[in-house]
């Protein structure tokens, strides 16, 4: 997995993710493996607090994620760029954001 804008074509399930910035302050800092993905949300397996619900559903639109790739590089991805169902992300054309 190379770090290029084309990274949005790749599979995110199974990677480690962390919410670093979000418009909702209470979800900042949630981290864990990505379990599931829908059009607008990502489900994380949050391990920090055993008392609370483990599976956290996070809205992509309002969050910025740090993804840890299999080779341990960390990539910052804005949730807005990865909106879309997992199978439809492959069809989309990349819009340059910077």
């Amino acid at each position: 997995m190379k770090v290029t804008p084309a990274i949005i074509y790749h599979e995110f399930l199974g990677l480690k993710a962390k919410v670093v910035r979000a418009s909702n302050p209470s979800i900042i800092g949630i981290s864990g493996e990505i379990l599931d993905e829908t059009r607008n949300t990502i489900v994380l397996f949050h391990e920090d607090n055993p008392k609370s619900r483990r599976r956290k559903t996070i809205v992509k639109k309002q969050a910025v994620f740090h993804l840890t790739l299999p080779d341990a590089t960390v990539v910052e991805i804005d949730g807005k760029t990865i909106i879309g169902r997992p199978e439809e992300r492959l069809k989309r054309r990349i819009r340059r954001l910077w």
Binding site: A6, Y9, H10, E11, L13, G14, L35, D36, R85, P86, E87, E88, L90, K91
Partner: protein
């Protein structure tokens, strides 16, 4: 769809099957969802599900099946040697021929072992 995207798609399908295999003992529904995503990717990008994974999807109900979890595997020698995989959800039976190549390799191995036994 460009060749590069198709290659990424195949990579993703491989990864999803791996994840499903690891997940099926913990959360079966999630494992089934991974396979649904893998199939959807394959259909959207128009690639085949890789050969080594094809028997893991039931031809009847399209669910993920794995020996020892939710399917039965028999070897049959009649007519043509083949594997019969019975889905644990819908009961559909799938048949896969056992390849000529493996048969020949088996024969070769058995003759070799016979020769060893003679010695």
């Amino acid at each position: 769809m460009s060749a590069a995207k198709k290659r990424i798609a195949v990579e993703r399908i491989h990864k999803l099957f791996q994840l499903a295999q690891d997940m099926i003992h913990e959360d079966e529904e999630l494992a089934q969802r991974y396979i649904t995503i893998a199939r959807k990717i394959a259909m959207a990008v128009r690639v085949h599900i890789p050969k080594e994974h094809r028997w893991k999807i039931c031809r009847g109900c399209k669910k993920f099946i794995l020996p020892g979890v939710n399917c039965r595997v028999r070897i049959q020698h009649r007519r043509e040697p083949h594997r019969v995989i019975t889905c644990g959800y819908c009961g559909k039976q799938m048949r896969f021929p056992i390849k000529e190549k493996t048969k020949r390799a088996y024969a070769k191995n058995s003759t070799q072992s016979e020769e060893k036994a003679k010695r």
